[in-house]
């Protein structure tokens, strides 16, 4: 889960990393009041859980309170990517002497943490990497080893900081690493790291992404995951623990497993159909779970046909078959539906579906099911 900047900064501050003084507001009046209490000038930053705010013109500087209100009006309800701006972080403007960059992330292929630092900041790391690769220092850290403070000092020094600044930057980097571990982060980034004209070092830009699979360990943060999802069906699916993504077509797709669900979507397209969604049931199918999956798919009113593609490995497909039958009975659905099932206890599952009049594909090939659902949906529409 990618946190909003204000949430990230709240955590950074609590862990000892200096951040600019600021307030979160959701109206132009609040923005003006915040500006007056912070003192001019201030920076207004749109709060959305995606990058690209600067380019979208959603980070603005204001020199007087009335202007702050006007700029806040401009930013509020702006759309950045798929997100509508609902909150603004109003911060005291900093007297910038120079900017840097600190980040910690995960190297998937080596299975290590990666610490990146640069004396250039304020732009995307890719941009720094292409403009001045020599200014980036990187270090891979074994996840079983402590990141000792001397390593942070070495990095800060290598980046070019000296004396008191070196100590301040290395301390921030070390704290960033500590919080990366503490909060199960997949990304902890300070960009820009601002060195002010008075020699202060602050995290002017902060980003923190917490591993979705570790959120259960961080209930105390009280993060609202739904706030980060725009689509109403995706919101419902998230509540039910279903991996669902709305697409723009009319054939609903359910697959048991991510790769299979992706391939099913691909094959529906391959045969000229247009998938309405991606849905992965995961490995925890129950009768109710499959019922829920169908319910999620059918919430999209564009759906005119449904393809269900399941394997019985860890998933009990007999239970899945019951869930499908119950859903179709209850809803009295008339739309074309195809269910392809293979694996453990397949014959029992086929029997349940066939007796209920559900169209079953017994072949291994997803292509066959995809071709059939596309043909059936066309017949239906013509």
């Amino acid at each position: 889960m990618r946190l909003f900047e204000f949430e990230s900064k709240r955590i950074f501050r609590a862990e000892g990393i200096p951040v600019p003084r600021g307030e979160v507001v959701s109206s132009s009046e609040e923005a003006q009041r915040a500006a007056m209490s912070l003192g001019m000038p201030v920076v207004l930053k749109a709060q959305v859980p995606v990058g690209g705010r600067g380019k979208a013109g959603a980070i603005l500087t204001s020199r007087e309170p009335k202007e702050t209100a006007r700029l806040a009006d401009k930013i509020l309800h702006m759309k950045i990517g798929e997100f509508e701006v609902r909150k603004i972080l109003v911060e005291k403007h900093l007297q910038v002497a120079s900017e840097g960059f600190l980040s910690i992330t995960i190297d998937d292929s080596e299975g290590k943490l990666v610490v990146l630092a640069s004396s250039e900041g304020g732009m995307e790391i890719e941009e720094i990497a292409s403009k001045s690769p020599e200014k980036i220092v990187s270090l891979k850290v074994d996840p079983l080893l402590e990141f000792e403070q001397y390593k942070a000092r070495q990095i800060a020094k290598q980046v070019g900081f000296r004396g008191d600044l070196m100590l301040k930057v290395s301390n921030i980097l070390w704290l960033l690493h500590q919080l990366f571990l503490k909060y199960d982060a997949t990304l902890a980034e300070i960009n820009p790291l601002v060195i002010t004209k008075t020699g202060e070092v602050l995290a002017a830009g902060a980003a923190l992404t917490i591993d979705d699979d570790a959120l259960y360990r961080h209930g105390d943060l009280a993060l609202d995951s739904e706030e980060r999802i725009q689509d109403s069906i995706e919101k419902e699916a998230a509540k039910l623990g279903i991996a669902y993504l709305r697409l723009d077509g009319d054939i609903g797709v359910i697959g048991s497993g991510a790769g299979l669900a992706m391939a099913t979507v691909d094959m529906v397209k391959e045969y000229g159909g247009n998938p309405a969604n991606f849905l992965d049931t995961g490995g925890r199918i129950t009768r109710q779970h499959l019922w829920n999956c169908l319910d999620i798919v059918m919430r999209n009113h564009a759906v005119r046909a449904v393809l269900v593609n399941l394997y019985g490995g860890i998933n009990p497909i007999v239970e899945a078959a019951h869930g499908i039958v119950e859903f179709f009975d209850e809803r009295k659905l008339q739309l074309p539906a195809v269910v392809k099932l293979r694996g453990n206890f397949e014959e029992e599952a086929w029997g349940i579906l066939e007796r209920a009049g559900v169209r079953v594909v017994k072949a291994t090939q997803t292509e066959e099911a995809a071709r059939l659902i596309v043909a059936l949906s066309r017949k239906e529409f013509s």
């Binding site: 998937d108 290590k112 890719e126 991996a243 995961g282 860890i314």
Partner: protein
């Protein structure tokens, strides 16, 4: 020969008394897997499917010679279980559990490397050497013994590909799911290297999907001429949108990286045949093995 596991591999099941652990133990025994013991803390003395249960992996390993462990314990305890197995000296650890925090997976991977244990997963269907053994959750009826190795990121999609091969009369030496997470123990390339050394394996099918760079690593290795057997691939997610996680934690296209197109290009550039559809795989395998 097969890779990683054969009919003589002695297996313990961690989490054997759980709902999934018990069902899967029965299915593995039915397949012929040599399960020597189970482990569930506090349940020592119980018997599940004629398999004795112990409190700790050490207790089980002290009484029974053990080569491998398969882990079904819930995500919050999975790191603990994996470390216990690795420290007990078990050389092959298969972690089926899904949704294990990535920081736990990082630690398991690092500890496994230090102790020279091979870690498969997390979020893996496991390993099957058809006709010999399965240390995993795959439906055995879709597989048959033969000469094609399969390495996959996706569980169910590997069943589909193996099923296609089997129906075309092409058997498999060993099928390995590396797991759907962002960080896994062995990678596709690690599995490929094992197939290199295996005489029974005459061709390898690599089943990939969007996200990560494990397919690109295979492409690079093959392109350098380091792999001598034919490689065939299928990549899922050609219609995947950017920046969204597609079920698997590892299946996400970030900042334009990890798209199906770029993976297919890298693989083809290395001379690897990439099938447009899963059902095209057997025909290509036949052509290349001829």
């Amino acid at each position: 020969m097969t890779i990683l596991a054969d009919k003589d591999t002695r297996v313990i099941v961690q989490g054997i008394t759980g709902r999934i652990g018990a069902v899967q133990t029965r299915l593995m025994l039915d397949y012929g897997t040599k399960i020597v013991a189970g482990v569930t803390p506090g349940k020592e003395g119980q018997i599940v499917e004629r398999v004795p249960v112990y409190d700790t992996v050490k207790d089980a390993a002290d009484r029974h010679s053990t080569d491998a462990s398969i882990i079904f314990v819930p995500a919050p305890s999975a790191r603990d279980a994996a470390f216990e197995a690795i420290e007990a000296g078990i050389g092959l650890i298969v972690i089926v559990t899904e949704r294990i925090p990535i920081h736990d997976a990082l630690k398991i991977g690092s500890f496994g490397k230090k102790m020279h244990a091979i870690v498969i997963g997390p979020n893996t269907p496991g390993i099957i050497s058809p006709g010999e053994t399965k240390i995993g959750i795959m439906p055995g009826n879709l597989f048959k013994a033969g000469h094609v190795g399969v390495a996959s990121r996706s569980a169910t999609l590997s069943y589909e590909i193996a099923g296609n091969l089997t129906e075309a009369g092409i058997g498999q030496s060993t099928c390995v799911g590396i797991g759907g997470d962002r960080v896994t123990g062995v990678t596709l390339l690690d599995v490929l290297k094992l197939f290199q050394e295996d005489e029974q394996t005459r061709a390898v099918v690599v089943v990939g999907e969007v996200g990560r760079t494990v397919e690109e690593e295979v492409a690079e290795y093959v392109k350098a001429g380091s792999f001598k057997k034919p490689v065939i691939s299928f990549i899922a997610g050609r219609s995947a949108p950017e920046g969204r996680r597609l079920g698997h934690a590892g299946a996400i296209i970030e900042r334009g990286k990890g798209t199906a197109e770029s993976k297919i290009r890298a693989l083809r550039d290395a001379g690897i045949s990439v099938a447009d559809r899963p059902s095209d795989v057997p025909q290509i395998v036949n052509q290349l093995m001829r």
